[in-house]
């Protein structure tokens, strides 16, 4: 039985690999964005002292790592769910002796693994364009773990969004808004420490911060080792909350599968 889910992931990798052109364009566009962000931050820092004590090399490292994380976190790995609800082909999956949400999870994992492999060449390319600070192995390990937790927060967030298609069959508008909110309130574009102090408490408590901000602040050392437990504890809490919400919304949705033109 497990074999089937491994196969789903492997097939997803094979499928993603067929879109080779997209791979090149995504790496190229990443290189351009790394360069542009460097130009912007250098210009912004030219006439200002380091705000919030964040040095220029730190902010450039932060932005570059954020863009690299985006290779994985920006992927809507459960898009397939929406597509299948939209064209009604989800009936076929429900007629198989499989757990349908696990199928989407496996397929999404395969898709993400493929894109995660692109981080290596992208990182090499980025290292030519900008200087990236490399922290100690212990910090890197904490970052990796936190990134891993952030991935699951993102997975459940995407899954919930795609489940909305059970009711509306169309989710692109909602999704667009959530992507903007994630990039902004998740700290991908600007570190959340730059936000007004009054807002920070609320923003850090949102699930979006658990995706980008927490691992990034660990990487650049703004979250010190003694803060790891609480930071990752909050991420884990979000995984539990969003996971439970995803399970509920899935159950409600699956009960009312409407097949268009079926």
């Amino acid at each position: 039985m497990l074999e089937a889910y491994v196969q789903f992931a492997l097939k997803a990798i094979a499928r993603e690999a067929t879109y080779r052109f997209e791979v090149f364009t995504s790496i190229a566009s990443l290189a351009v964005r790394v360069y542009l962000l460097r130009v912007v931050w250098v210009a912004l820092y030219a006439h200002n002292a380091a705000p919030q004590g964040v040095a220029l090399h730190t902010i450039i490292t932060y932005s570059t790592i954020a863009l690299l994380m985006g290779l994985v976190l920006d992927i809507d790995q459960t898009r397939l769910l929406h597509d299948k609800l939209h064209d009604g082909s989800i009936v076929v999956d429900f007629m198989k002796p499989i757990s349908v949400p696990l199928y989407f999870f496996s397929d999404g994992t395969g898709e993400v693994l493929f894109h995660a492999a692109l981080i290596v060449p992208s990182l090499a390319l980025a290292a030519f364009i900008v200087h990236i600070d490399i922290p100690s192995a212990a910090v890197l390990a904490a970052f990796a773990l936190s990134f891993f937790l952030g991935y699951f927060v993102g997975f459940f967030l995407n899954f919930i969004l795609n489940c909305i298609a059970f009711w509306t069959l169309e989710i692109s508008a909602v999704q667009l808004i959530v992507t903007w909110v994630t990039d902004l309130l998740g700290g991908q574009i600007v570190p959340l420490v730059f936000f007004p102090a009054a807002l920070q408490g609320a923003i850090f408590a949102l699930p979006f911060a658990a995706m980008y901000s927490t691992p990034l602040l660990i990487y650049v050392g703004r979250i010190p080792p003694e803060g790891y437990a609480s930071a990752m504890g909050l991420q884990a809490l979000w995984i539990v909350i969003l996971g439970a919400a995803a399970a509920l919304i899935w159950r409600a949705g699956a009960r009312r599968v409407i097949v268009q033109g079926g």
């Binding site: 196969q7 082909s89 076929v92 007629m95």
Partner: protein
């Protein structure tokens, strides 16, 4: 002990009622009124293991909804279902192991993958032992001639090829029951015949088959039993012969005349003409035998040839769709 049993099965759908245009669409966001639509009203049937049943009815009659409830993906509003001892919507995955499904208008093959890899994936999904998988795949490859396109991605297959692939995919795990939803739609005559032969063969090997189709040639060729559904209710359940017997009361005698007869008429029979030398006489076989009718014609007219058209199941069903099924009058024997 029937393998499929439903009692008073009913399914209603709720849909949002919308006003017209943009105002209506916006209005629907705020205050919602629902329309209730009854897709399946009252379906009670029992199907024995090994039967090949044609489940037919006009568009929107409730066929697909019934099939979806039998596969466990739709939960009935009321009524009961049991398929091979399992309540499908309560144990969807256990039920899925017993069934195979083919949709004419939808594929279960993986669009981007070569056909062979779709089969491999199905092997792990159903947990088919390797030797049995090998044996079944070899068998289907041979009788469905799949080897020419085994390595082709499914999106590049022709409809006929894809359907053959879909049939193999639905049967690899030796399901006891197979649901076929318009499996011959859009196929050319040769491909249709290949699929029909395959269906007959699979039924001979003991598989129970439920076939929904609009092509009544499929039904005539394959089914011993036919279940007719309209407006969510079963209006006929019985053999194809009985339907023809009870409902196809009218035969047509085609008469070829030696010379044109503008005022051709035979008492008690309606006549119509395609061309001056051919007359079609529609008669009720319960009140008139063909022999008697031919005698009446030849008494008055010189003819070169006659032919008798039996009622086509297609005509019978078309009339039922249009007029509704009512218990035909008792036969006068």
């Amino acid at each position: 002990m029937p393998i499929i049993e439903t009692r008073a099965l009913r399914k209603t759908f709720r849909s949002v009622r919308r006003g017209e245009g943009l105002a209506g669409a916006i209005g629907a966001l705020f205050s919602r009124t629902y329309d209730e639509r009854v897709a399946v009203d009252d379906v009670t049937m029992a199907i024995g293991e090994g039967e090949l049943v044609g489940y037919i009815g006009p568009n929107g009659a409730g066929k697909s909804t019934t099939i979806k409830m039998l596969t466990g993906i739709l939960v009935p509003t009321s009524g009961t279902i049991e398929v091979a001892g399992i309540v499908p919507h309560e144990q969807r995955r256990r039920n899925a192991k017993n069934i195979g499904v083919v949709f004419g208008q939808r594929t279960q093959l993986y669009w981007d993958l070569p056909l062979r890899e779709s089969f491999e994936l199905l092997r792990s999904i159903y947990g088919i032992p390797r030797d049995r998988f090998r044996r079944n795949l070899d068998h289907f490859t041979e009788i469905l001639a799949l080897d020419e396109f085994m390595g082709t991605p499914v999106r590049q297959l022709s409809l006929g090829e894809r359907m053959r692939g879909d049939f193999a995919a639905a049967l690899l795990h030796d399901p006891r029951i197979v649901y076929l939803d318009e499996p011959t739609i859009g196929l050319d005559v040769v491909a249709k015949e290949a699929i029909r032969t395959f269906i007959a063969e699979m039924n001979r090997r003991g598989t129970t088959v439920i076939l929904t189709t609009h092509d009544l040639a499929d039904v005539e060729r394959l089914c011993s039993r036919i279940v007719l559904i309209d407006n969510g209710t079963i209006i006929y359940d019985g053999s194809v012969e009985r339907l023809r017997d009870e409902y196809g009361t009218h035969r047509t005698l085609i008469v070829h005349l030696t010379e044109p007869q503008p005022d051709f008429a035979v008492e008690g029979v309606e006549a119509e003409s395609d061309d001056p030398l051919t007359v079609r006489l529609r008669f009720d076989r319960r009140s008139l035998t063909a022999e008697a009718l031919i005698r009446r014609v030849t008494e008055r007219y010189a003819i070169t040839d006659v032919a008798i058209n039996e009622p086509e199941i297609e005509d019978i069903v078309r009339r039922i769709y249009l007029e509704g099924y009512h218990q035909p009058p008792a036969r006068s024997t």
